[in-house]
């Protein structure tokens, strides 16, 4: 596709359930970012990949959160033993550049609701 694609668009999980969120970046984009956006807030950084290498995971809120991008393309954000505070929109973004100033393109996000 032409843009960043995320699936599912909506996910309802029971507390304690594991979830996996998928991101298909724009083809050829080197950089991939995951963000968490709580209601009424701006996106908050979770983690960053350059190709398959996870260069920064400082934003992951706990060890229940895990992200991977094994072949440098599709990425999966996994949340284990979901808690109510994990409810948010999870945004994925990709960018062509490694180190140049350029914008990141965002997907529509996955809205996760933990009940």
């Amino acid at each position: 596709g032409a843009g960043v694609s995320q699936s599912p668009r909506y996910k309802v999980a029971k507390r304690g359930q594991d979830v996996a969120l998928r991101c298909d970046p724009i083809s050829g984009h080197v950089s991939l970012f995951w963000y968490q956006q709580a209601l009424g807030q701006g996106p908050e950084f979770l983690t960053y990949f350059q190709n398959e290498a996870q260069l920064d995971k400082s934003g992951l809120p706990s060890d229940r959160f895990f992200a991977e991008r094994p072949e440098g393309s599709v990425s999966t954000l996994k949340i284990q033993r979901t808690q109510q505070e994990d409810s948010a929109v999870y945004l994925c973004a990709s960018s062509l550049a490694r180190q140049a100033n350029t914008e990141a393109f965002f997907g529509q996000g996955t809205r996760l609701t933990v009940v």
């Binding site: 350029t102 914008e103 965002f106 529509q108």
Partner: protein, 111 residues
């Protein structure tokens, strides 16, 4: 500790007038700044950016101003149109490793 702040949660402007959205940041090492626009149920869409070596960047009706000494960024929309009604986020980055976002300003342009 929020490094990028948008202190106005909302702004209402008459169609045809100027919209000015403001953003403040705390880290003087930020080297790249962006504005994103977001409609409900969609991801943020890139609008305009500016490098820290510049103080102004213009693209059609949109102009971004950067005041490094004041650590202040603003977005001007002239003339404002009803289709500009959305939430606007400013963002800043350091070495392009990650973006720090403000909490957003909801712009309403009244016909």
């Amino acid at each position: 500790d929020q490094q990028v702040k948008q202190n106005s949660p909302s702004l209402s402007v008459q169609e045809g007038r100027i919209s000015i959205l403001n953003c403040d940041y705390t880290n003087s090492m930020f080297d790249y700044f962006l504005w994103y626009k977001k409609y409900p149920a969609e991801g943020p869409t890139f609008l305009i950016s500016i490098s820290s070596i510049k103080d102004k960047n213009e693209d059609g009706r949109f102009t971004v101003f950067l005041n490094k000494s004041a650590k202040h960024l603003s977005l001007h929309i002239v003339p404002s149109q009803p289709g500009d009604s959305a939430v606007y986020f400013c963002a800043a980055s350091l070495n392009f490793n990650k973006f720090y976002f403000g909490s957003g300003t909801k712009l309403n342009v009244k016909p």
